[in-house]
Every structure is written in C-alpha cells, then in structure tokens.
C-alpha cells in the first residue's frame, strides 16, 4: 500500500515546504550566502563607478536588479541538486504525490529563503545606492514579483541541468535570456518611481509576467525534472 497517496496534495505541499525551510535554517551560512553575494555585488558598482550620488541614483535600479538576478541564479542552482544526488528526489517522485506538487513546494520554499529575504534586505541596499525612501514600496513590490518569477524560471533551468556535472554556466545561459523582460520592466518600474512618474504600467506588466510564469512554469519544470530523472 502506498502511504504517500493517503496524504492530500496541500498537506504534502506544507510538509515539503516545512522540510525545506528546516533544512535551510539548519545551515544558516548557506542561507546567508546569496544575500551576502547580493550585498557584495551592489557594493562593487559604487566602487567601480563613482561616488557621485546623483549618478549612482541613476544607475541604482539597474544595479539592484542585475544583482538580484545573479544572486537568485546562484542559489537556484542547488534547488534540486543535493536531493537528486542523495536519491531523495527520486524517493519523493515515487511517493505517490504528483511531481508537480513537489516542484511547487520546493520552488516556493526556495523563494522564501532567497527571494523574499532579498526583498527584505533591498531597502538597505537602496539607501546605500541613494534611492529615495518614498520609492521603497515600488522597489520592493517589483522585486517581490520579479524574484518570484525568477525562482520559477530558475526552477525550469535547474530541472534541465540537474543531471549535469557542470550545469552551472549552462544554467545561466538558459535562464538569463528568459529573464530579460523582468529586468527591463523591474528596473523600469523603480526608475520611473525615482523620476516621479507613475510606475503602475511596468508593475502591472511584472505582475502579468509573474502570474503567467507561476501558472505555466510548474509544468515546464516538472517535465524538465522528469526528463533528467528518468
């Protein structure tokens, strides 16, 4: 008798999310690495460019978004890797729950510890880059939508490259082109808010991309994982 089939999808979802969070919080250094990376990359730009706050403010949205993109990409690489290496993923796939539930739960947990954490840190970085405080709501909202979409795009990439030994560079090559509209509209929304015009259009577009990705990407990521697991 298959024990897993007695557990409902929602219950399985919460169980996996709890497991993932538990695993992440037992290794706080790994949890902090993407955030520290995010901070370091955003520190590099002022050092490399100039100390003029006006110039920095013009660059800030782009810098913030590129850093978020790279940081998210860095952490998503390990989304399925350790579980695939020690066979946990195969066990999860065999437990009677649909693979999609597992993928959704794992990606959501990954977003909570990487994307959501990044959004919470972003005001600090925003202040350092000279973004006015009034823009923070727009910036954080755009980053929330953006990182959620990114986690999903990353899940597809991670699913496709999980079986490969050197999948890291390939993962960037796969995910970054797909993330281009995010960068344009995400940085665009923050940029508009800084210059005082309405950011609503760009935010709506980001939200549309987010909904679109969150609905379709789980299936794509499941197929990707199935291709590499088989």
């Amino acid at each position: 008798m298959n024990v897993g089939s007695q557990v409902g999808s929602i219950e399985a979802f919460t169980l996996i999310v709890r497991r993932e969070l538990c695993l992440s919080f037992r290794r706080p250094d790994q949890l902090l690495q993407p955030l520290v990376f995010f901070l370091i990359v955003t520190t590099l730009f002022p050092l490399g460019l100039s100390l003029q706050l006006s110039l920095l403010r013009d660059m800030a949205p782009g810098v913030l978004w590129v850093a978020a993109l790279l940081s998210s990409l860095l952490s998503v690489d390990s989304l399925f890797k350790s579980d695939a290496d020690d066979g946990t993923l195969e066990q999860l796939a065999l437990c009677g729950q649909g693979l999609t539930v597992i993928v959704v739960a794992k990606t959501f947990a990954h977003w909570l510890v990487s994307g959501a954490a990044l959004v919470l840190v972003s005001p600090v970085v925003g202040t350092a880059l000279g973004i006015p405080t009034g823009v923070f709501p727009t910036m954080m909202l755009s980053l929330t939508l953006g990182t959620l979409t990114l986690s999903w795009l990353g899940a597809i990439g991670a699913g496709l490259t999980v079986g490969l030994k050197r999948g890291n560079v390939l993962l960037s090559l796969i995910v970054l082109p797909l993330a281009m509209p995010l960068l344009i509209f995400g940085a665009g929304a923050t940029d508009r808010a800084i210059s005082g015009s309405s950011a609503a259009g760009a935010l709506y577009f980001l939200a549309a991309l987010c909904v679109f990705t969150c609905t379709l990407a789980p299936f794509a990521a499941t197929v990707a994982l199935r291709i590499t697991l088989e």
Binding site: I156, L160, M180, I227
Partner: protein, 250 residues
C-alpha cells in the same frame, strides 16, 4: 485516424522526402534570390534620405524575419516531438537550430553595418537589437543544452523543452518595437493599411524574403538528412539506403 501522421513522420519517409525536395527548394530559392538581388541592388531607385545605403534592407530584413521564423519552426518541431514523442521532431529541431543562429548573427551584423552610416553607431542599446541578441543567446542555449548530455535522447528532450519555453521570447522580440519607443523604425510591411514603402522597393524585398525562406527550407532538408541518418545509423533501412547510394556512384 492518426496513422497517416505517424507514417509521414517515420524516419525513412522523412529522409526520402527531404532528399527529393532539396533540388526544388534550391532552384526556387535561386530564382527568387536572383530576381531580388538584381532588382534590389541595381534597378530599384535609391532612397531619398538614405541613398544607396538603404539596399542593406534586402539582406537585413529577410534575415531578421527568418531568425524568428526558424525559431518558431524549431519550437514547433520540439513541441511535436515532446507531446507526441515523434523522434523526427528532435531531428528537425536539431537541424534548424544552427541555421537559425546563423540568420540571427547575419541580422545583427548587417544591422550594425547599416547602423553605422544611418544612426552613426555600430551598436545602440535599442530594445530591438538587444532582443535579437538575446534570441541568439537562446539559440546558443538550446544548442549547448542538447550537446551537454551524454545520452543524446535526454539531450534532445531537454533542448526541446527549452525551445518550447523560449518561444515566449519570440513575440516579445517582435512586439518590442511597439512596446518601447525606440531608435529602430516601426513595422514597414506587416501592418494594417497600405505598406509605407514604394512598390519598386517592396517587390524585390518580398522576393528576397521568399528566397530566404526557400533557402532555409533547402538547407533544413540537407541538414535533416544528415541528422536522420546519424540518429538511425543502427537501423536496417539506413544501411540499405547507403548501399543504394554507393551502387549509384560506382
């Protein structure tokens, strides 16, 4: 009901059809490209603003259009291969990817050469140009993902999924002209109402576009034969087909 579909997609049939179609496609492409080049480069009047430099359009626009068309063909073949598990779809996808990447590169190079006299710069961070560059990265991603797997079948399916997912980017590239107000000029041919181009300039362009399409079809058929032979190299019909070829040659 679907038996004809599967018969159509069987490797020996595809191999034979591709071989038979190549000369037709090549001949038609030569006619269309010949007319387009002569009319476009020599007969059509120079542009009143751009002079003779506008003639770059006869290579640039068809290759840019083809870069999108080939991606769509590749993604469609990949989707067919994924959904109905038709292996020839993977062969079509693998055969189309390098051709599409070449057209994309050609569009970028001719565009930058055209941009120098017209915009005063080889490269502008115009959304359209950037999107075309991203399209090139998408092609490279699909090609390198396919070759990254040791098991070719797995590589095929992974690349097929990526191509299907990446097709989202194709409309974004196409409509970026409309979405972002940019340096690049808007649509000239495909839009509601009359085209904003004189007929004497338009006809060679359409002919070039048709020629590029036919040329793509011909190259695709040639590459497809190679892909099919390579994938089916363990089968009996391939051995027989090669024997027949050898006999014809000797």
């Amino acid at each position: 009901m679907w038996t004809w579909f599967y018969k159509l997609a069987s490797p020996p049939y595809v191999y034979g059809a591709a071989a038979a179609l190549v000369p037709w496609f090549l001949g038609a492409a030569a006619l269309a490209l010949g007319y387009g080049l002569i009319d476009g480069l020599a007969i059509a009047p120079p542009d009143y603003q751009q002079g003779d430099a506008f003639r770059m359009i006869y290579v640039h626009v068809p290759s840019a259009l083809l870069s999108l068309t080939v991606y769509t063909v590749m993604a469609a073949a990949s989707a067919v291969a994924l959904i109905w598990r038709i292996k020839v779809g993977h062969a079509v996808s693998a055969a189309a990817a390098p051709i599409g990447a070449s057209f994309t590169l050609l569009a970028l190079v001719t565009g930058s050469l055209w941009g120098r006299p017209m915009w005063g710069t080889y490269w502008a961070w115009d959304p359209r140009l950037t999107s075309e560059l991203i399209l090139l990265f998408l092609y490279v991603g699909v090609m390198s993902l396919r070759s990254a797997f040791e098991d070719p079948e797995r590589g095929d399916r992974a690349a097929a999924l990526l191509a299907t997912v990446g097709v989202v980017n194709v409309p974004i590239v196409h409509f970026s002209v409309v979405w972002w107000n940019s340096l690049h000029q808007g649509a000239t041919i495909v839009k509601l109402g009359a085209p904003s181009m004189a007929g004497s300039m338009l006809w060679p362009l359409l002919s070039m576009w048709l020629g590029f399409m036919l040329f793509f079809a011909a190259v695709l058929c040639i590459r497809l034969q190679g892909e099919v032979l390579n994938r089916e190299r363990q089968t009996k019909w391939v051995r027989e087909a090669i024997m027949v070829r050898r006999e014809v040659k000797s």
